[in-house]
């Protein structure tokens, strides 16, 4: 009897405590004290603003939502956005309107210049939370340095690594017999196959990556790209790139008077036979597309001799997020060996893990090793050299220069 009474009182106190904790908006959750984060997160609804253009990824996100609902009582709402830049704008609009807490965005799928902009404008949760998440211990900080350096900008724990990306090309073996292995040979290839190559129109993310990829190969000294732009003369450095593009464009699809708007339309054009070479920022892109009837099963992948650009994508919490604890719980779950394993499965998504597989628990380690990466996916050893992203300032100027030369 006494015991029951004690229990009831304790439960009541606990409930009071929880209610108090939920009301307490001033103090942000401390990921160092994980049980308290879990407690705060329970019952919260996390609005995750993530690009929604890929049904496979949407399905994966829905799965993650079901898991954290079941395990931690966190409700996930996937706000499907078509452009992450608009989310940055939205958080900014809230700051403009004075919404300093209870904001509408709890978590953002982000990297590169969007992250750089949010970090610079102090639009992110300011404490270094990501490195303190329990599952961060499995992250491959030494083998995959981009997990803490986002386009050369240190993440400072403001965003949690979610997946790896590398630029990988693909082509239909039923139509195309020979593919270029460098930017120079791409030009020759385009000359003998007029109208069959194109790239997504910058500032599309992958389109801009194509420019950076070409720049890497054509620039005299690639190390200048790792530093902010102000240290170099943009015109001189990029001159070889633009004279290359001047040569390439007349041989491109629609004579470069129109461009596919993103990788997905690029893929569609390859499937339609309008283009012969496609590329994506995911080594499993081709296998996925075959699985999904979007590309014929004769498609295979390839990379360039001198390497292709790779980076990491992340999740970040805005400074005024309403469900910070819930967002942390979600970010931690997304980094867990279990979630990362499922993400790398090409029948699910095929996005490479940010973890050091050898550090993960035995069960996942074995499963990672056994994973069938798909018919058109290159093995990790075949992916070649991974080139680091240039500093974001380069991308901004490249996009501007491209726009004024070719976009108008």
């Amino acid at each position: 009897m006494l015991k029951t009474l004690f229990r009831a009182t304790f439960a009541g106190l606990l409930a009071l405590g929880t209610a108090y904790a939920n009301d307490d908006k001033m103090s942000d959750p401390n990921p160092g004290d994980w049980p308290s984060v879990l407690e705060k997160a329970n019952g919260q609804t996390v609005y995750w603003h993530a690009w929604g253009g890929e049904p496979r990824i949407n399905d994966y996100i829905a799965w993650a939502g079901r898991q954290i609902k079941e395990r931690h009582g966190v409700e996930l709402v996937h706000v499907k956005v078509s452009d992450t830049g608009s989310v940055v704008s939205q958080v900014l609009a809230e700051k403009t309107a004075g919404t300093m807490s209870g904001g509408s965005v709890d978590l953002i799928w982000i990297n590169g210049e969007n992250f750089a902009a949010m970090k610079r404008e102090s639009l992110l949760l300011s404490q270094s939370w990501a490195n303190a998440l329990p599952n961060f211990q499995f992250v491959d900080v030494t083998g995959k340095p981009t997990v803490i350096n986002d386009f050369t900008v240190p993440t400072d724990g403001l965003e949690a690594p979610w997946g790896m990306a590398q630029l990988v090309f693909y082509y239909d073996t039923a139509i195309t017999k020979q593919v270029p292995v460098s930017m120079v040979s791409l030009l020759e290839w385009a000359q003998s196959n007029p109208g069959r190559f194109s790239y997504p129109q910058p500032p599309d993310y992958v389109g801009s990556t194509f420019l950076k990829q070409a720049l890497y190969e054509l620039v005299e000294d690639p190390t200048v790209l790792q530093k902010p732009l102000e240290d170099a003369d943009f015109k001189t450095v990029t001159q070889p790139l633009f004279s290359y593009l001047d040569d390439l464009h007349p041989h491109m699809w629609r004579k470069a008077r129109a461009f596919p708007q993103n990788t997905a339309s690029l893929r569609q054009l390859v499937a339609d036979g309008e283009l012969e070479i496609g590329f994506a920022f995911n080594p499993a892109a081709a296998s996925n597309a075959i699985e999904n009837n979007e590309l014929p099963d004769t498609v295979r992948s390839f990379v360039l001799e001198e390497g292709t650009i790779g980076n990491t994508h992340f999740v970040a919490i805005p400074f005024n997020a309403n469900a910070k604890a819930g967002a942390m719980v979600l970010a931690d779950f997304l980094m867990s060996p279990e979630a990362q394993l499922r993400k790398q499965d090409p029948t699910v998504w095929g996005d490479p893990t940010v973890l050091d597989v050898t550090k993960t628990p035995a069960k996942e380690r074995v499963a990672f090793d056994k994973l069938d990466l798909g018919i058109a996916t290159l093995k990790p050893s075949e992916l070649g050299i991974v080139l680091p992203e240039p500093h974001p300032s380069w991308m901004v100027e490249l996009e501007k220069a491209w726009l004024s030369r070719y976009g108008v």
């Binding site: 049904p55 399905d59 901004v396 108008v408």
Partner: protein, 560 residues
């Protein structure tokens, strides 16, 4: 209470537009304190005007607006001139009116899937007729001249203008004038243009201006079909708004002002052209040339009208096929295999957007139709009809470019509600739904025979009883049609839902555009098809409910 409704309605319509314009005007001059913008400057205007290609973008917007409107109006008018009263015209009318409810985005997707070099048309005729086993490298969709964008807009505006013109015809004594003109030896087209056109045009002038303003600032159709090097101004505006570089917001605000100027410029050019055409018209009336040999024009215009509606319908059919397609290699006329995968996979994700679409659409329609009824009833009771100036106000939300005021409104909504709330989304929809509901209901409402009311009053009933027991039941069909129009308008809203809802209230349309960025034609097919079908359900209900309710009231059936 009822007395104040017209004023309240105007406030609901105009208030947010003005507030939104103001909200974008201040940042355009560099004032946005949270971003450190405290001093007024014109630097951002200079920045916008010196952006490479911005002049070309503005010219595209201007020309697309003017040409689209002029061509659509000519098609509609010449069609009525050459074919009114014929059986072909009736048939065409029933072919065109369902197109009215197809959202612009869905129609644009359909068209893109149809006419692209690897589109369905090419697949149907390849390789047996064209000899092509690979799609040709032709610049059709997204062409720099914006031809496909204009085609898409014209295909959508023709049904709209036809509908408003048909509503205006009875007040112009079109039939008698046509008879008279033909006894004087005029060809049907010349006869129409010389006698009826000035009267009809006067009545449909505002909808024409709305079409003009819309075409100069449209976003979704421009993204799908428009040029990309550079895109029309409205699309660039959206790009600046979404740019992660935060100072671009100032530029976007200044750009919003430029968009206002472009639209205003289009309106001015149009109004000036009206005068010029008027002068020509007078001269040609005086000259009295008969132009009786107009058979070729009649046939061409009929062909054009059939073609434009057939394109939209075939486009929708293409969407349907893609939504069930397995891999579909060019130049096969049909997919290599069919599958239910996409529908099955999208099915789960459809639930929330569907709920939001219905919730927002139905609520906004209810509010808009209620306000419309209240305004019209107040008008009937006070005996004061809305002046043409009041009517002009009704068109304000349709004429002011959406992109220009929604961004300012976004900040406003945030300041009022703290965070995005579904109420603000619904109210924003009302701004766009109300004018259409009003325009669709006003004419039948006023055309109602007031002697019914006199009889009821004579039996000792008050105005409320007359309203509920006589007028509403008799006009039920018109009210439901107005609701269906409003619902269709709500479904088509993209920017309003996205910006004001902060992305929290995904609807079929916002999901469709978000998924369109993924480019999978199957998924786009699913969403665009649903987007196109939902308004049909609304119109279907508007047809069937009165038919069932009044199955034993023969005279009421004719009012549909």
């Amino acid at each position: 209470m009822l007395k104040h409704i017209p004023a309240l309605t105007l406030f609901i319509l105009i208030g947010p537009v003005l507030a939104g314009l103001l909200g974008a005007l201040l940042p355009a001059f560099g004032i946005l304190p949270t971003l450190g913008g405290t001093e007024a400057t014109v630097a951002y205007f200079a920045e916008v005007l010196t952006t490479p290609g911005v002049m070309r973008s503005s010219c595209i917007s201007l020309l697309v607006g003017l040409l689209t409107t002029a061509i659509s109006l000519s098609i509609v008018m010449t069609l009525i001139a050459g074919w009114q009263g014929t059986r072909f015209f009736k048939a065409l009318q029933s072919l065109l009116s369902p197109l009215l409810s197809v959202p612009h985005a869905a129609a644009a997707f359909g068209l893109a899937f149809l006419i692209a070099p690897s589109g369905w048309l090419m697949r149907l005729f390849s390789p047996w007729a064209t000899g092509l086993s690979r799609p040709p490298d032709w610049l059709i969709v997204n062409d720099p001249m914006a031809l496909s964008m204009m085609a898409g807009l014209i295909a959508k505006e023709v049904p709209f203008l036809l509908l408003v013109a048909l509503a205006a015809l009875p007040q112009s004594d079109a039939r008698q004038k046509a008879n008279l003109a033909s006894t004087l030896g005029y060809g049907p087209i010349a006869g129409f243009y010389k006698t009826t056109f000035p009267l009809v045009y006067r009545q449909i002038r505002l909808p024409v201006l709305a079409v003009l303003a819309y075409a100069t600032s449209v976003v979704d159709v421009a993204i799908i079909l428009g040029p990309t090097t550079p895109p029309p101004l409205s699309v660039r505006l959206l790009q600046w708004m979404n740019d992660p570089e935060i100072t671009e917001r100032f530029k976007a605000s200044a750009g919003a002002q430029l968009q206002l100027c472009v639209t205003a410029c289009a309106l001015v050019v149009w109004l000036l052209s009206e005068r010029v055409i008027r002068q020509f018209g007078f001269k040609s009336v005086v000259k009295g040339k008969r132009h009786f040999a107009d058979e070729t024009i009649r046939k061409t215009i009929a062909l054009l009208a059939i073609l434009s509606s057939a394109m939209v319908l075939a486009g929708i059919a293409t969407l349907g096929i893609w939504s069930f397609a397995g891999f579909w290699r060019f130049p096969n006329a049909l997919p290599n295999s069919f599958t239910l995968d996409i529908w099955a996979r999208q099915g789960m994700g459809l639930e929330t957007p569907m709920q939001n679409t219905l919730l927002i659409g139905i609520t906004a329609t209810l509010i808009a139709v209620t306000l419309t009824l209240a305004c019209l009833e107040q008008e009937a009771r006070s005996g004061k009809t809305a002046t043409s100036r009041a009517l002009l106000l009704l068109y304000v939300p349709l004429i002011v470019p959406q992109v220009s005021f929604l961004f300012g409104l976004e900040i406003l909504a945030l300041q009022l509600g703290g965070k995005a709330h579904i109420t603000s989304v619904v109210l924003t929809h009302v701004i766009f739904v109300l004018p259409y509901a009003y325009l669709s209901l006003a004419d039948p409402w006023r055309a109602w025979d007031k002697r019914y009311a006199a009889v009821a009053f004579g039996m000792g009933h008050g105005p409320n009883t007359v309203f509920w027991r006589v007028r509403v039941p008799m006009l039920l069909s018109a009210i439901l049609t107005a609701s269906a129009v409003g619902f269709a308008v709500s479904i088509g809203q993209y920017l309003a839902t996205l910006l004001i809802g902060g992305g929290r209230f995904p609807t079929i349309t916002t999901e469709a555009v978000a998924l369109a960025s993924g480019g999978d034609r199957r998924v786009i097919g699913v969403y665009a098809l649903i987007q196109a079908l939902l308004p049909f359900i609304g119109f279907g209900l508007a047809l069937f409910v009165p038919a069932i309710l009044y199955r034993n009231r023969r005279a009421l059936k004719a009012t549909a």
